[in-house]
């Protein structure tokens, strides 16, 4: 009986604290392959190396990838391993060559929507999850204008930034800060809005 090969080419792709473990699929013609993923944090590997914990979403899974975001919940190196099964057959474990630490995640500038409500500058930021805070910089578009900075923690809802003066244009840029790993994303492109001028009362 042919021994089921272990999955190969394990790697982790991590962007904005979403971590995806991937591997090359095991092919057995006519069969559906299931995969089991397990993880081990630094504590387990140091104090209880025999202990592996089944992944939250991939015990088992069909596709050659696994979202391990809910499993990696500390900023320490994690060992990860995968094995394939079909019927009663189970492959050997294949372990990620280098432990994964979430502080290596790629941080991208967040998506934002800048609007105004009368003279009020309002921003809505994408919901990237509880790990994220947003550092919002906004300024009046004129030479030498002072840049105001605000830390915004609300996600997915319009947040008041500041009050604008009639007839002026204001610009906004934002970057994320991830407290768990102490890192920032690059700033987004600036977006600007113009405020309608206020109709001045007739001077007699």
């Amino acid at each position: 009986v042919a021994i089921l090969p272990a999955p190969q080419n394990l790697s982790v792709q991590s962007t904005n604290m979403k971590h995806l473990l991937m591997w090359s699929p095991v092919i057995v013609p006519g069969e559906i392959i299931y995969y089991f993923v397990e993880y081990q944090g630094e504590y387990e590997s140091l104090y209880m190396s025999h202990i592996w914990i089944p992944s939250s979403w991939c015990s088992p899974t069909e596709g050659p990838e696994c979202d391990i975001t809910d499993d990696v919940t500390a900023t320490v190196p994690y060992n990860l391993r995968v094995r394939a099964t079909v019927g009663a057959q189970t492959s050997a474990w294949s372990t990620l060559q280098h432990p994964f630490n979430r502080n290596s995640t790629v941080l991208t500038p967040p998506v934002m929507e800048v609007t105004k409500d009368g003279f009020h500058l309002v921003i809505k930021l994408e919901d990237l999850g509880p790990q994220f805070e947003f550092l919002v910089a906004y300024w009046r578009r004129e030479p030498g204008a002072k840049e105001h900075v605000k830390v915004v923690k609300s996600r997915g809802i319009p947040v008041h930034l500041g009050t604008m003066e009639p007839g002026a244009a204001y610009c906004v840029k934002v970057r994320t800060f991830v407290k768990a790993i102490g890192r920032h994303s690059p700033f987004s492109q600036a977006e600007c809005v113009k405020v309608q001028g206020e109709t001045l009362p007739l001077t007699l």
Binding site: E42, Y47, Q131
Partner: protein, 154 residues
């Protein structure tokens, strides 16, 4: 978003994650039948000075890592508990690895005071059967996190 235990500063741990981990396994408290014993009682955690806090938190978390959590996982079959366990253990591990309390002589009386508090906790733990004690200490992580939160800068 960091802990400031007196002079000891710890970044990279999100208290929210620890709370979520504990909330997911709160029903472990139902397995603690010895309700007449509270390990983290007021004499252990009340009125701890900032200077003392670094010594005390280090002693408590090291004990959790080496005695409470260790070997517990073998018995915790429930994957929800294993997952919460791993989150707490690895984050406690990060905190302990970043705590460097001062070893200077003039801090001796403060570190001694922290040690006496810790011994109250440890003695109560050792008076119980090991598995009952581990279950109780695990169930009291909400008391521990509530105290730690006093030293957390949101």
């Amino acid at each position: 978003q960091e802990f400031q235990f007196g002079p000891c500063r710890v970044e990279g741990v999100v208290l929210q994650e620890l709370w979520e981990a504990f909330s997911a396994m709160k029903d472990i408290q139902a397995k603690d039948n010895i309700t007449s014993v509270r390990l983290l009682r007021k004499e252990v955690l009340q009125n701890v000075s900032d200077a003392e806090s670094c010594y005390l938190i280090r002693a408590l978390l090291k004990f959790y890592l080496t005695t409470v959590f260790k070997n517990y996982l073998d018995k915790a079959a429930d994957s929800r508990i294993r997952k919460s366990f791993s989150t707490l253990a690895n984050n406690f591990f990060v905190i302990v690895s970043k705590l460097q309390p001062s070893q200077e002589n003039e801090m001796f009386s403060i570190s001694e005071s922290a040690r006496r508090r810790f011994l109250l906790f440890q003695r109560a733990f050792k008076q119980l059967d090991i598995q009952a004690a581990q279950t109780k200490a695990f169930g009291e992580v909400d008391i521990l996190l509530t105290w730690m939160e006093k030293f957390y800068q949101f």
